[in-house]
């Protein structure tokens, strides 16, 4: 699983855990805004990302202020009325003659765009590239009613006006029919002329269409940032520091069960990082949160943390879970090692990668497993790659920065169950220097209430040698 410059948001949703939850929480009004998001690419251009983030910040400011809140509400109302008119615009620029439905679409689009421009001006939103649509509206609204209805109005042609009057007075059905055909022919002439006049504006309409979808998207981003309590990330080079990092989907799930999600602080530089921690101590979720935050940043979104300064990367590469092996029919080890190999090869091409690897080589024997972890980490160190690797293995002999999830913070006497274990788990990270690995698997298993013989009561001598 990886994200690179060619990844669209749509493909990222399939790969990054929790990103589909983010998508569901983006209140995008128009189908064009949604399309824009889905087609947007994983971005590595700092200016572009910062521009989007600044705009989001501006809109958040306006949404929070009482004087401007209603204006933004009005803006949302207009945005929700836009239709996807890309098909019509394609016809227009291909110089085709449009029909009434297409004229209606353009007229409605132009009137709504005018309304949007008006609001933007009133609220001082710095959104430059809109073309005024007054001339387009004037062409399609000869009555000057500014209502998005459309008809070949009598104002377009005196002849049509005259013939229509004649038609309504005429009693003879044969004459009436020939009049109808004649009027239809004249109307077609008006359609042809109008289409030609409008085609001069096709580029402007197209640009506005793009701008409307972009505006819709940014407004949705701003609303989501408030709703999910996200923060504006600062872009830094060579260092990422995430304070109060959380996983919105898991957090909201816990909240629905009236439980609390414990945010975590994590920072890393251009070097690998080894994380140890007991089972159930949230290592996997931590990696997923980092992947999610990185992806959100590079799709121009606020990130799930209290405070974040982050580096940009060319690729986010993940080895988390076994989903892929089930799909490809490979054994879990084979699938994993091929993913790892892909990371190594990419890094050796000097691509800027953040690699997130969960329990590297866990499915093979610990002796060889340890060696794989060690050599992977050393390669990552050599190529200055931030690789976050979690492991259960002790005795990995390498000088690399190590963190440990604090884990269960109680003594043996407290009664805890699978339901309450969360409340006693400290998910925060601590720097460690030695190669220490928590041995809490048996304890956690007991808490989960598995068969006693499995976890080593007196009857089972297998556990005699173990210290605890």
């Amino acid at each position: 699983m990886k994200l690179s410059k060619s990844s669209t948001f749509q493909s990222a949703v399939q790969q990054i855990s929790g990103l589909s939850f983010i998508y569901e929480n983006l209140p995008i009004h128009s189908s064009l805004g949604r399309k824009k998001l889905m087609e947007s690419l994983f971005c590595t251009d700092q200016c572009e990302i910062e521009e989007t983030l600044d705009l989001t910040a501006q809109l958040i400011g306006l949404l929070k202020e009482t004087q401007t809140k209603d204006r933004i509400g009005e803006l949302s109302d207009y945005l929700s009325q836009f239709h996807d008119i890309s098909h019509t615009l394609a016809n227009l620029s291909a110089q085709k003659v449009l029909d009434d439905i297409q004229f209606f679409e353009i007229k409605k689009f132009a009137i709504l765009t005018e309304n949007v421009i008006e609001i933007l001006q009133k609220t001082d939103i710095s959104w430059a590239e809109f073309y005024e649509m007054k001339e387009v509206v004037a062409l399609l609204d000869p009555e000057g009613r500014r209502i998005p209805h459309f008809y070949i109005y009598a104002e377009y042609s005196d002849e049509i006006a005259r013939k229509r009057k004649q038609y309504s007075k005429e009693k003879n059905p044969d004459v009436k029919e020939s009049l109808f055909l004649e009027i239809s022919r004249l109307e077609d002439g008006v359609r042809e002329k109008l289409s030609k006049q409008l085609s001069a504006f096709s580029t402007q309409l197209f640009v506005n269409f793009q701008q409307i979808s972009a505006l819709d998207l940014v407004l949705a981003k701003a609303k989501m940032a408030i709703r999910l309590d996200l923060c504006k990330p600062k872009i830094e080079s060579g260092r990422s520091s995430l304070r109060g990092l959380f996983h919105p989907e898991v957090s909201s799930l816990l909240q629905s069960k009236s439980r609390r999600y414990q945010p975590v602080d994590l920072s890393f530089e251009l070097s690998p990082l080894l994380i140890t921690g007991a089972n159930m101590s949230g290592k996997t979720i931590l990696l997923k949160s980092v992947a999610l935050a990185q992806a959100m940043l590079q799709f121009g979104l606020y990130v799930p943390a209290a405070h974040a300064s982050m580096m940009l990367v060319d690729e986010v590469m993940l080895s988390i879970g076994e989903r892929e092996s089930e799909m490809s029919g490979l054994s879990s080890f084979a699938a994993e090692i091929l993913t790892i190999d892909d990371i190594v090869k990419t890094v050796k091409k000097n691509v800027k990668v953040v690699a997130l690897v969960d329990e590297l080589a866990r499915t093979t024997n610990p002796e060889e497993g340890k060696l794989i972890v060690k050599s992977f980490i050393e390669i990552m160190a050599r190529y200055n790659t931030p690789a976050i690797v979690t492991t259960h293995y002790a005795g990995i002999d390498t000088c690399v920065r190590r963190l440990r999830v604090k884990g269960l913070q109680i003594d043996d006497n407290v009664e805890i169950t699978a339901e309450t274990i969360n409340d006693y788990m400290d998910y925060s990270l601590a720097e460690i220097t030695e190669d220490e690995v928590p041995e809490e698997a048996l304890r956690i298993a007991r808490i989960l209430g598995v068969d006693e013989e499995l976890t080593g009561n007196q009857k089972n001598s297998t556990f005699a040698g173990l210290k605890k």
């Binding site: 439905i101 209606f104 679409e105 209805h149 008809y151």
Partner: protein, 333 residues
């Protein structure tokens, strides 16, 4: 005349019991009469779902004559084929099998083919939305079809058309028509979850005492026999979201809980069971209710059968009125 009666309602559907019973004539007649009284109508139709597109496009669908100022909703496809001049007022975001729905106002009278939304709730929304244009009444070109998810019962009142096309044998014609009017008069089931239930397309559900809905996980009413042990798991009010056949009624009838059973259906048009089946079900103590009920205000007759047989219009009118206790009209007279 029933035209004045119609104006007491916000919406009307016109439904034919059979092809060639004069539904289109009745619709055109009502629209014409309203126009003569200086009233404005809004018209739309019950759509037919996707798989019938070919049927819709290849068979002849009657055109409706619309006077100036009439508001109408039809699909993009049929809008483009219109033989009138009109001002587009709105276009839906959602699509039907025949494209989006166009709302327009007639500027120069002429003919148009009507098509509409495929579901009852969407149709309800459309009727609601048409109020924006202040019509004196909204008329729905209704259909009695197994294939249609829409329902003529979303309107406040209804006109039924019947006639020789249904049967040229007078007692049979009367008996069949009377049976439908009895179904139309089935009482309404009151629940706060009406819209939710209407949106369910298929499946069988129990409605609990507080209106809560339980999916009985019975995939089709045709499989009731296999799953009958689940049927009363949440009480004896059973909602069938699709159509109810005679088989379903027979199956329910033999359950020991039958005397307490209330069978809820979307509306009368979803009951595809014989008169005998319904009677036997009711006789054992079963009750039937509908989510949507409409009021039948008149029956229109067409005494001419497609094969050319002409029944005695006066006799037909007289006998039907006696049997139904509702005004009956031959609009061609």
């Amino acid at each position: 005349m029933f035209i004045d009666d119609i104006l007491n309602y916000r919406s009307l559907s016109i439904v034919g019991m059979e092809k060639n019973t004069g539904k289109t004539e009745a619709l055109n007649y009502v629209i014409r009469q309203l126009d003569r009284r200086g009233k404005t109508a809004a018209v739309t139709s019950i759509g037919i779902d996707g798989e019938n597109v070919d049927l819709v496009t290849h068979t002849h669908k009657p055109e409706i004559k619309l006077p100036e100022n009439t508001i109408f909703i039809t699909s993009e496809k049929h809008y483009k084929q219109r033989m009138l001049s009109s001002e587009i007022l709105d276009i839906s975001n959602r699509r039907t099998a025949l494209g989006r729905l166009v709302t327009a106002r007639v500027k120069m009278p002429g003919k148009v083919i009507l098509s509409g939304p495929p579901t009852a709730t969407w149709l309800k929304e459309n009727i609601q939305q048409l109020q924006r244009y202040n019509p004196d009444i909204t008329i729905v070109d209704g259909a009695l079809s197994r294939k249609s998810l829409g329902s003529p019962a979303v309107t406040d009142c209804m006109i039924l058309t019947t006639g020789a096309a249904l049967s040229t044998h007078l007692p049979e014609l009367i008996s069949k028509t009377k049976y439908i009017t009895q179904l139309i008069n089935i009482e309404e089931y009151e629940t706060k979850n009406t819209d939710y239930l209407l949106n369910l397309e298929n499946g069988i559900y129990a409605i609990g005492g507080d209106g809560e809905i339980h999916d009985l996980k019975i995939p089709s009413s045709l499989l009731l026999e296999q799953y009958h042990d689940r049927l009363y798991a949440y009480g004896s009010t059973i909602y069938v979201a699709g159509i109810v056949t005679g088989k379903v009624l027979e199956l329910l009838r033999v359950q020991k809980e039958i005397a307490d059973t209330t069978l809820v259906v979307k509306d009368f048009s979803k009951i595809y069971a014989s008169k005998e089946n319904v009677r036997a079900f009711l006789k054992k103590g079963g009750k039937i209710s509908v989510l949507l009920k409409t009021r039948l205000i008149a029956v229109c007759i067409n005494p001419l059968s497609p094969s050319g047989y002409l029944m005695d219009s006066d006799l037909l009118k007289l006998e039907l009125e006696k049997a139904l206790d509702i005004p009956v009209y031959d609009i061609k007279k």
